[in-house]
């Protein structure tokens, strides 16, 4: 019985909770048991909040028994990416410089989750400060892909995606600066959506690149992402870039999913060369299914996309070098006193040397270079112009298409260690996801099957104009239904069992 509860979607679990068939304590305990059984090999979690989760669950059960009117998702467990500050739960953003820090306040998304009665079961692993595409840059060791423990779970939000794929949580929060929600979804056979920039408050999300970052949902089904997005979205006066729009119900968009007459533009530049054959095969198959359901498939060009990575790897490190200046050994986190003492600047330099990992240092130095006198106009200034060109390309493409589509990433999950020695090849992997961040538009990744050559999950990415997140839920839900009808099962039901006997397959221990 308890293992069955972890196989339920958040929506199905919520129905059982509100009918009283299952208690939140039972549901929470089931997920904690699952974490105890498999997280030794997956390492999706940096912190498991067993005691507070069970206390929160008991409180929901008590309020429900007392007849209190609760949010439909009240009592459902959720995992939180460690980039999000959480009162009472340690928050490190995957970095040693914040080891042991317990924030004195909640991010706005956490306040909203708590108000809806969702039960936070723990903090998920990530590349340090969300800098990476594999979680291998986490200071606490990598997360392993539940489909193949030797492979990456994507990044930076590999922990949230792996937790959901391994049935350790029905859904999770992620953050996406250049694909950190969508690419992990692609390689783990899960769903992830990056909302329109400003659609979800960034207050309390430890900033990587403020003009690109966005918090969003991670789940096993499109409906669950929509339900979570409905909880976390909306205006927040504490985030000056938060949009004041009134958003439609995304869950409603899923329930009304229909692609008849929908114009889907295939992005010319994001297919072919460099894209794995098995990824392209599943991609074309998904397009054929959508066409069969009445969608109109066209081809659109985004010529500036070829410069998007270059612009991104100037803008992101520039903003990161500024954002990470706050880790100065004064107000929170690590302090390292150099031998023989020294000034506050010596302490700061020693702390940052010891507290930051290699990738964080690389990006801070790169960003400092891009912003330094004599180079600012050539690099940062030019990158901002490319950003304009990318936005113009999208505007032209959306004049002829309602949504755009591409594979979410060029390849399936690569092996742990395969790209860590070559930062540039790791960066190039983000080609399909970065343009949406530069333009501030929403994007979703949905599973479309397994690549024939390696049996690993493949995702498809849909993009919509800014503020049209609902369109993405509609098209993604329609495709999900068509594929599951064709297969006769969900994709994740085909994932390896991760039975406790496999637990010692790797020696990576949960923190």
């Amino acid at each position: 019985m308890t293992t069955d509860l972890t196989r339920l979607t958040a929506d199905a679990l919520a129905i059982k909770l509100s009918s009283g068939e299952v208690s939140s304590v039972e549901a929470t305990q089931a997920h904690l048991d699952r974490i105890a059984a498999v997280d030794g090999s997956v390492h999706a979690f940096l912190h498991v909040a067993s005691d507070s989760a069970l206390a929160e669950a008991a409180d929901i059960d008590r309020r429900r028994a007392a007849g209190e009117e609760l949010h439909p998702l009240a009592g459902v467990p959720i995992a939180i990416k460690d980039v999000i500050v959480t009162k009472g739960m340690p928050t490190t953003s995957g970095s040693k410089i914040l080891e042991g820090w317990v924030p004195p306040y909640d991010a706005t998304v956490m306040t909203k989750l708590r108000a809806a009665g969702l039960v936070s079961i723990g903090k998920t692993n990530m590349d340090e400060f969300a800098m990476g595409s594999s979680t291998e840059h986490s200071a606490y060791g990598p997360t392993h892909n539940p489909w193949d423990l030797e492979r990456i779970p994507g990044g930076s939000g590999g922990g949230s995606a792996a937790a959901v794929a391994a049935f350790e949580a029905p859904f999770a929060l992620g953050s996406d600066t250049g694909g950190s929600i969508r690419q992990p979804a692609h390689v783990t056979g899960t769903v992830g959506l990056k909302p329109t920039y400003g659609g979800v408050s960034r207050y309390g999300a430890i900033a990587l690149a403020s003009s690109l970052d966005q918090i969003g949902p991670v789940s096993r089904t499109v409906l669950d992402s929509a339900l979570l997005h409905d909880v976390i979205g909306g205006h927040d006066p504490r985030d000056s870039t938060s949009l004041t729009d009134v958003w439609p119900s995304f869950a409603e968009a899923v329930r009304n999913a229909d692609v008849a007459g929908l114009r889907i533009g295939v992005i010319t530049e994001l297919q072919g060369d460099g894209f794995q054959p098995g990824v392209m095969e599943r991609f074309r198959e998904a397009l054929a299914l959508l066409e069969g359901a009445g969608a109109i498939i066209t081809e659109v060009a985004l010529p500036s996309v070829e410069h998007a990575i270059a612009a991104y790897y100037l803008i992101m490190p520039a903003e990161a070098s500024s954002n990470l200046a706050k880790f100065d050994s004064v107000r929170f986190g690590l302090r390292v006193n150099p031998k023989g003492g020294g000034t506050v600047e010596d302490v700061m330099s020693a702390t940052r040397e010891q507290g930051f990992g290699a990738e964080a240092k690389r990006r801070i130095i790169l960003g400092t270079y891009a912003l330094s006198a004599g180079y600012y106009d050539a690099y940062y200034g030019s990158a901002q112009k490319v950003r304009t060109l990318v936005q113009r390309d999208f505007a032209a493409a959306f004049a002829n298409a309602d949504v755009l589509v591409s594979p979410t990433a060029p390849t399936t999950a690569f092996k742990l260690g395969e790209k860590t020695g070559d930062p540039l090849s790791m960066y190039l992997n983000d080609i399909a996801t970065i343009p949406a961040n530069l333009a501030g538009i929403p994007g979703i990744s949905v599973p479309v099957g397994l690549a024939a050559e390696d049996g690993l999950p493949v995702g498809i990415q849909f993009l919509a104009p800014a503020r049209e997140d609902a369109r993405l839920y509609g098209v993604a839900a329609a495709l999900e239904a068509l594929l599951e009808q064709k297969w006769g099962h969900t994709l994740l039901s085909q994932a390896p069992d991760l039975s406790p006997s496999e637990m010692n397959a790797t020696d990576e221990g949960a923190v």
């Binding site: 612009a311 200046a325 690590l334 330094s372 200034g381 501030g440």
Partner: protein
């Protein structure tokens, strides 16, 4: 193309307040060179007629009324500090001997 020298990386590290080791300076110099070779392509397409975009969605500055809202207590603000005296963050000397 992008001539990055060890002296430059050393200077950048001091600007960024990171006490890099000599080994790190060597490896970062070569990595930065190859990354800059790639990203420098932006200069080819960023012609003078293209305006820069700093933000994805056009926004205006936001003001709020100047009233006291919910804030952290001193105790909460100091809770995560490496060192404090109960009401203030404590740091080592601001100035060195030669200053």
């Amino acid at each position: 193309m992008s001539e990055i020298t060890q002296e430059q990386v050393t200077h950048l590290a001091s600007l960024a307040r990171i006490a890099l080791t000599p080994e790190e300076i060597v490896s970062l110099t070569s990595e930065l060179g190859s990354i800059m070779d790639h990203v420098a392509t932006v200069t080819e397409v960023a012609t003078p007629d293209v305006p820069a975009t700093s933000h994805p969605i056009p926004l205006q500055n936001v003001f709020r009324d100047d009233v006291v809202g919910q804030t952290l207590t001193a105790e909460e603000a100091l809770a995560g500090a490496p060192d404090h005296d109960g009401s203030r963050f404590r740091v080592t000397a601001i100035l060195g001997e030669e200053q």
